[in-house]
């Protein structure tokens, strides 16, 4: 009775189809679900004479509607999207931290205000209000730097912690994927259908791709191998866990748990974003902010150490604690250069300048090289000064109340060396602050011989290279005592008297009294303290006494030469900053972040749209269309009812035949 078999096959097929439709509709909103379809084929055909009799319907298999290439592309795009979204979110945090264009705050304004305060002080040297303004604005700028440094530092730590947390989550997913592989293989190897398990596993792979970029390789019996960040983490039913850590060179990387060969060549997903953020983006921003802060510190300090404030020369100066006293180990190392210290004997008014030539100091311990203690010992030999090093740094103190000291570059009031053979040696008075760029020694050689103010008598001025830079008339036409401009800020006056043939004298001119950079590096008479953005601050002795702001370069403390140099720093292109000014460097830094953010925003929008398109494409193939399912529901309902009717008709027919019998 083939009729019954046909009827049963039809009923079974309709029943199964209704089950699948039910399953499809039930999972219409399940993420990662792929629509299934019952594959129906006509059943075996029998020939009865010339008539073909069908065998009903054969419901052989259930097909999972999937496009593997599309799925892989979706996985890849989704992974990139997650990476970009993570990078964008973090960059947005950084951009908000900088706070530019939002109101009047921001480091840009703080830097401007500090330099403007220096400029204001040029017109108000010695006035406490303006000194306090300089200190307040500098401290405001420093606090902005610190806040920025702190946030970037915390962000950096947070990224490391977050990467560890994400790797834990990834390891859980990896374990589950391997477990699903096992389950799927067990079912499908026996001819079973594990479509729902496949969907579940693929959903886990999608979740893994949001954490880290993955690649999948299809194998037999529904098994999928997974590579994450270039590392094979799932092979069949076995798996390897990942581990995040800091690489030898300092960046964030991942590796197989227990191994030490970290890789940072990871793209995609949040891990890819965190590695990129820590190793490149935030690392770069931190480095740039630190470079800026360090440059501000070093540039201001290198000028500040040489000057004095309205408080005058010093009785005592204390440096800051240093991690090592071996000068070659400092950053940057200090190996040579000269420090010139002026000591004034208050009782006599005599001023002496002593040069400490670092290259000429014999280290007390040749195996480690020159130390701060060696330099302190040399300074300690200067009459009127005590100098020592302890755990809190370098200290200089006058040896008695008769002395005071400073590092002013102002020329000494008398020549530093002279050969004068006249019968009545004229008084030679030198004054001024040298404005040249290199330290120099000017030699004044008398041309002719005779009495000042008479006849042909000249001073030929040559620099240390022997080049004549000026010829000054001190003969007829020159009134003894009149001031002559030598140039570059140096003035000279020759009193009444006479010179012999080839008489000469020298004047040391300083553009810097510390060419070694040791004073600034040791924190002696500095304005700022710190090594970068996270610890920059105005020195406490300047906060306590703003009259210590070293605005002047001459001993009377009236000039504004030093504070003018601070003010002019804002417009100077600095090699440390790639020949940009401090302001330009910062503005470039900020807008570079904005640019990076903007690029990511555009990329995110683009990839988001692309992902949505791919998802829509997948929905068309794999998604559940309720209307389509409803239509099929009607079809298979009708089919079921028809087959039931058919069975009833066949039964009635048989009953009729049986009643005849």
């Amino acid at each position: 009775m083939a009729n019954f078999e046909i009827g049963i096959s039809g009923l079974t097929a309709a029943q199964k189809s209704l089950d699948i439709i039910g399953n499809n509709i039930a999972n219409a909103a399940t993420p990662g679900y792929h629509k299934q379809r019952l594959d129906l084929n006509p059943a075996y055909c029998a020939y009865n004479s010339a008539t073909i009799i069908g065998g009903g319907v054969d419901a052989r298999s259930i097909t999972r509607m999937i496009d593997n290439l599309l799925e892989k592309e979706l996985l890849r795009q989704n992974s990139i999207l997650t990476q970009i979204a993570q990078e964008r979110t973090t960059l947005q945090t950084i951009e908000n931290t900088f706070g530019e264009l939002a109101g009047s705050g921001g480091l840009n304004a703080a830097i401007d205000r500090m330099f403007n305060a220096f400029a204001d002080l040029t017109g108000h040297v010695g006035e406490i209000i303006w000194q306090q303004q300089v200190v307040a604005e500098a401290e405001m700028m420093a606090s902005q730097f610190r806040s920025m440094g702190d946030i970037l530092s915390k962000l950096d730590q947070q990224i490391t912690l977050e990467s560890e947390h994400l790797i834990e989550r990834a390891n859980t997913l990896i374990t589950q994927i391997a477990k699903f592989n096992d389950d799927i293989e067990r079912i499908e190897i026996t001819g079973g259908v594990a479509n729902n398990l496949r969907d579940h596993r693929d959903q886990l792979i999608t979740q893994l791709s949001e954490i880290i970029g993955v690649q999948t390789i299809e194998r037999r019996n529904g098994v999928v191998d997974v590579e994450a960040g270039g590392i094979a983490v799932v092979i069949g039913t076995s798996y390897s866990s990942l581990e995040a850590g800091i690489m030898e060179e300092g960046g964030l990387g991942i590796t197989i748990q227990g191994a030490s060969n970290y890789t940072s060549n990871v793209h995609g997903g949040r891990i890819g974003a965190l590695i990129s953020l820590k190793n490149n983006i935030i690392g770069g921003i931190r480095e740039n902010v630190d470079t800026l802060a360090t440059t501000v510190i070093s540039q201001v300090n290198q000028y500040h150490v040489q000057g004095i404030g309205s408080a005058g020369s010093f009785n005592r100066l204390d440096g800051w604690a240093v991690s090592t006293t071996v000068l070659a180990d400092w950053v940057p190392p200090i190996t040579d250069g000269k420090i010139n210290i002026r000591v004034t004997d208050i009782s006599t008014g005599d001023i002496s300048r002593t040069e400490i030539n670092l290259a000429a100091i014999v280290p007390s311990n040749p195996s480690v090289g020159l130390t701060l203690e060696d330099v302190a010992a040399e300074i300690n030999d200067i009459t009127g000064l005590n100098c020592w090093v302890d755990s809190s740094g370098l200290h200089l103190e006058r040896s008695s109340a008769n002395y005071k000291f400073d590092f002013l570059p102002e020329v000494l009031p008398e020549p530093t060396d002279s050969t004068l053979t006249g019968t009545s040696v004229p008084n030679i008075a030198v004054s001024g602050v040298y404005t040249g760029t290199e330290n120099d020694t000017f030699t004044f050689t008398v041309s002719g011989a005779g009495t000042v103010g008479n006849g042909v008598l000249e001073l030929v001025v040559t620099n240390s290279d022997g080049q004549a830079v000026k010829t000054l008339n001190i003969g007829s036409g020159y009134a003894a005592g009149d001031i002559l401009e030598v140039g570059n800020g140096i003035r000279i006056s020759i009193g009444v008297g006479d010179f012999g043939v080839d008489d000469n004298f020298e004047v040391d001119a300083f553009s810097s009294t510390d060419t070694s950079g040791l004073l600034a590096a040791a924190g002696v008479n500095t304005f700022f303290k710190g090594t970068g953005a996270s610890d920059i601050t105005v020195c406490s002795d300047i906060i306590d006494n703003p009259a210590r702001v070293a605005a002047s370069l001459s001993s009377d403390g009236h000039d504004n030469a030093n504070v003018s140099r601070f003010a002019q720093l804002s417009g100077e292109s600095l090699a440390e900053l790639g020949n940009l000014t401090i302001g330009d460097y910062y503005r470039k830094l900020v807008t570079d972040i904005g640019q990076e953010l903007s690029i990511r925003q555009v990329r995110q929008d683009s990839i988001e749209a692309s992902v949505k398109n791919l998802q829509n494409q997948r929905s068309e193939i794999s998604g559940v269309d309720i209307n389509e399912q409803a239509a099929q529901l009607l079809v298979f309902q009708q089919m079921f009812q028809s087959m039931a009717k058919y069975m009833s008709v066949v039964q009635n027919t048989l009953d009729s035949i049986m009643s005849i019998v």
Binding site: A28, L101, D112, S431, G453, D556, D559, N627
Partner: protein, 395 residues
């Protein structure tokens, strides 16, 4: 309607995300009035805005500096005008004494009048602005002129200010100072050969003398040699018997020297005022005139006329210096006003440019906002319609 739930959900979500993000952005722009709220909104525009903000602050600083310098210079002009008035009064007083009776009450009135003039000029030279001395160069904290008095009368005035200007930057690359060095302002610096107008028979030597202004020279004879003193007899220089065409006579008080051509054959003893044109300073000139009137009270009319003439010359020399400096300061004020005007124009342009880049077009924003609202509502409506139209309703 065809389409899966996923597809409808995705499309709706995408549309809602895009529209809500745009609505938020527009809302923020409307609220702040600025189309740039963070650098990422438009990085290149943000760079320009940050630069322009810095320029604004810098320009404000320059203009503030200019205002301060101009204020000081205005004060300096007023002080110099007061000095010029005082000098005119001194000339008038001198005119009175020569036109009136020699000696007696008129002379004393004149001397007192000149003392008043010296006091007025000294007060003007030590003028302060906002607590700062304006004629002390970079030293604004100490009175630039130290007044030495005897019985309340100023007997000497010494400059103790700085010889350096305090330059401040008033524009990129332009430095100027509001605080003048008094020595440059109130002293003539155009030295000429000393003029000997007396009867001692001396004349200028070939050397360049360093004495300034008017120097009283006393020539005596010790029986063998003539002796010359320019420091009120404190030290004397002996004239060789054979003479000396370039004899150096030193003022032991200042170290300054006067070179004289001394030929005993034509010399005679006596007092003589030696004038060094181009080296007068305002205080010593007036003090010398006063002292001459005091010490030489019984002058004849012709002597008084000569003294008056010399005094006029000296005062005129100083007055010329003051006029020159006054014009110089006036020019500087004019230049600074002009510079400030230019900077103000640059600032207006900067403000305009910044506003143009930064400020949001409110009308445009309102239109965009309305458009986005409509799109947002449409996205919701279409999604709702798509979901509501289902064949399930007919089962």
């Amino acid at each position: 309607m065809s389409g899966t739930l996923d597809k409808i959900y995705n499309s709706t979500l995408l549309a809602l995300n895009i529209n809500s993000r745009e609505i938020f952005r527009l809302q923020e722009q409307v609220a702040s009035g600025s189309r740039l709220n963070r650098p990422s909104d438009d990085p290149s525009a943000a760079y320009r805005v940050l630069n322009l903000s810095s320029s604004q602050r810098s320009l404000e600083n320059y203009m503030e500096n200019i205002s301060q310098v101009s204020d000081v210079l205005q004060f300096a002009t007023t002080a110099i005008d007061e000095m010029k008035t005082a000098l005119a009064d001194a000339k008038r007083l001198l005119g009175d004494v020569t036109g009136g009776v020699s000696g007696g009450v008129t002379l004393n009135v004149t001397i007192e009048g000149i003392n008043d003039v010296i006091e007025r000029i000294a007060a003007a030279a030590n003028t302060q602005h906002s607590g700062k001395y304006i004629f002390g160069g970079s030293n604004t904290r100490t009175a630039p002129y130290l007044l030495t008095r005897e019985n309340g009368i100023i007997t000497s005035v010494t400059y103790q200010g700085s010889l350096q200007n305090r330059d401040i930057t008033v524009s990129p690359g332009v430095n100027t100072s509001g605080f003048y060095v008094g020595e440059d302002l109130f002293r003539s610096n155009n030295r000429s050969e000393p003029v000997f107008t007396g009867q001692t028979g001396l004349s200028a030597g070939s050397g360049t003398s360093s004495v300034r202004g008017d120097v009283q020279m006393i020539v005596t004879h010790d029986g063998s040699n003539y002796r010359i003193s320019i420091d009120a007899g404190l030290t004397e220089t002996v004239v060789p018997v054979g003479g000396d065409s370039n004899l150096m006579v030193t003022d032991s008080r200042t170290g300054q020297v006067l070179y004289v051509n001394a030929d005993p054959a034509s010399m005679s003893t006596g007092n003589e005022w030696v004038q060094v044109p181009g080296t007068h300073d305002i205080f010593n000139t007036l003090i010398n005139i006063r002292d001459k009137l005091q010490t030489e009270g019984g002058l004849t009319s012709s002597q008084m006329e000569e003294l008056r003439s010399k005094a006029y010359q000296a005062i005129e020399e100083i007055n010329t210096v003051l006029i020159q400096k006054s014009v110089e300061i006036g020019s500087k004020i004019g230049f600074l006003d002009s510079l400030k005007g230019n900077l103000q124009n640059v600032k207006y342009s900067t403000d305009d440019e910044k506003a143009r880049i930064e400020e949001a077009d409110i009308a445009q924003l309102a239109i965009d906002l309305a458009r986005r609202e409509v799109l947002y509502q449409m996205s919701l409506a279409v999604s709702s319609r798509l979901i509501s139209m289902s064949i399930l309703d007919y089962i």
